[in-house]
Amino acid sequence: MTAPLLEIEGLAVKYGNVEALHGISLRVDQGEIVTILGANGAGKSTTLRTISGLLQPARGAIRFDGAPVHHLPAHRLVRLGIAQAPEGRRIFGTLTVRENLGLGAFTRGDAAGIAETEEKVFGLFPVLRERSQQLAGTLSGGEQQMLAIGRALMARPRLLLLDEPSLGLAPLLVKTIFQTIREINRTGVTVLLVEQNARAALKLAHRGYVMEVGRIVLEDSAAALLSDPKVQGAYLGGGAR
């Protein structure tokens, strides 16, 4: 078996004196969609923010493609191939859609390759092409989420981290976005997806982890998690009885 693309071992993260992650371990294999489920405050976003280098771990290790990366600052990780569409989208509202996409490709120098990736992003999200000269802050919530994902793709990542892409979106839009995530995955991009919308995430993902107050409490294939009574009770709104 080949080494996983992303491997986390005994990861602990502190905010000041408060420990938010108590030593979690997980792995994401090349080509997979893996989802992390959990309630508010379970530590899902903290996990993603630590992977992308915005937070430094107190203990534990993060390995990307076999090499330890947990000591690297965020801007270096982008060059290695980890891109994130962060929670709350965090698009640059007073810049144009085009400029936002350009910033996504900040680490790249190949103008022709960047243009090609931009075409691919416009192919996935045609509305972004229509709005390319508009200020990003004037986009609707769904369009902003598309921009956040498109911007992350501009770095041509091997691992795409998505933090709550369905947050605040109408159900129909959520469906569109999740279909697009599947398309992106089919082009060879590995995806780690943090979601509160457990049903949609599990239908999309290959495998899943369930987090509760800073620990991973369940780990299984997505299909198994979907039919797990505990998951159904806690995250899928009751379900089969």
Binding site: S52, G53, L54, P73, A74, H75, V78, R79, A83, Q84, P86, R90, I91, F92, G93, T94, L95, E99, G102, L103, G104, F106, T107, R151, A152, A155
Partner: protein, 301 residues
């Protein structure tokens, strides 16, 4: 008409200088949300370094009047930019993770340090630039005789502002500066090294401020170690007038302040010159609390 045009051109020259200094305040504020109180003193350093290099190196005797002035300007700009970078490293970077107030106190301390350093090196008395750096001729503009130096100050400040504007709007690094000003965390996720952006801002701002200091020395001829105080305050006013954090705002604010002040001094009262400038600030802030071109200050602070 004659007097009006004289005052207008003078106002544009002073305003251009305010605008160059204001850009330093506004760029640092944009990225770090910090008022660099030592910025006015970096401007003073530009004026003093200009004097020392002008008299010490005798560049104009060696390479001719125009080339000498050019070399002098480049030297001053580079040296003050380096001073700015040292200031960032010494006074602000160690406090990056500290509460905002600590950095403000550090900025005030840096300002006092620079002022006193200038006083120790050059003395507390006013210093005078040599005359005849440029031939003291006047150029006819719309039938009015305008001193060559004044035209030069206006042109140089406009060219520098234009270059900065193009750099920030059109280049990749300029876009990275704007991105870091909007959201540092998101900028890091794009692969932008925010520490380098901050360093760059602390090179560009002081470079413009240093150039302004040199031009004040050449234009007015007299400099003092506390000159950064009043110019800094006026430029800060200009930055707020235009909307702090907003680069075109600082340019518009500086030019507007210079012209209003100059016309006010001529037509209202010379003694009330500074009061008029601040009155304009108050009036504009009543109508537009975020400044002329400002937009997102209120939510940020």
């Amino acid at each position: 008409m004659e007097q009006f045009l004289q005052q207008l051109t003078n106002g544009l020259a002073v305003g251009g200088i305010y605008a160059l200094i204001a850009l330093g305040y506004t760029m640092v504020y944009g990225v770090m949300k910090l008022i660099n109180f030592a910025h006015g003193d970096l401007f003073s350093c530009g004026a003093y370094l200009g004097l020392t290099l002008l008299t010490g190196l005798a560049l104009q005797d060696r390479v001719g009047p125009v080339a000498g002035l050019l070399v002098l300007a480049v030297l001053v700009v580079v040296l003050v930019a380096l001073l700015g970078a040292i200031l960032e490293r010494a006074a602000y970077r160690p406090l990056r993770e500290s509460p905002r107030l600590s950095a403000v106190v550090s900025a005030l301390g840096a300002s006092i340090f620079l002022q006193n350093a200038l006083m120790l090196v050059y003395g507390a008395r006013f210093q005078v630039y040599p005359s005849g750096v440029l031939p003291e001729i006047a150029v006819s503009v719309l039938g009015v005789q305008v001193p060559l130096m004044r035209i030069l100050v206006v042109l140089v400040s406009l060219v520098m502002m234009g270059a900065l504007y193009l750099f920030v709007q059109r280049t990749k690094v300029g876009t990275a500066i704007r991105a870091a000003a909007i959201d540092q965390g998101a900028a890091r996720l794009m692969g932008i090294d925010v520490n380098r952006v901050i360093l760059l801002v602390f090179l560009i701002g002081p470079a413009l401020g240093g150039a302004a200091g040199l031009m004040v020395g050449l234009y007015y001829g007299q400099i003092g170690y506390q000159m950064g105080l009043l110019y800094g305050m006026k430029a800060f006013t200009a930055a707020i007038l235009g909307g702090i954090g907003n680069i075109p705002g600082a340019m518009v604010g500086g030019l507007l302040l210079g012209v209003v002040e100059s016309l006010g001094a001529a037509y209202v009262s010379l003694a009330w010159k500074d009061a008029i400038a601040f009155l304009v600030l108050i009036l504009i802030l009543i109508v537009r609390p975020t400044g002329l071109l400002g937009e997102r200050v209120a939510e940020k602070v």
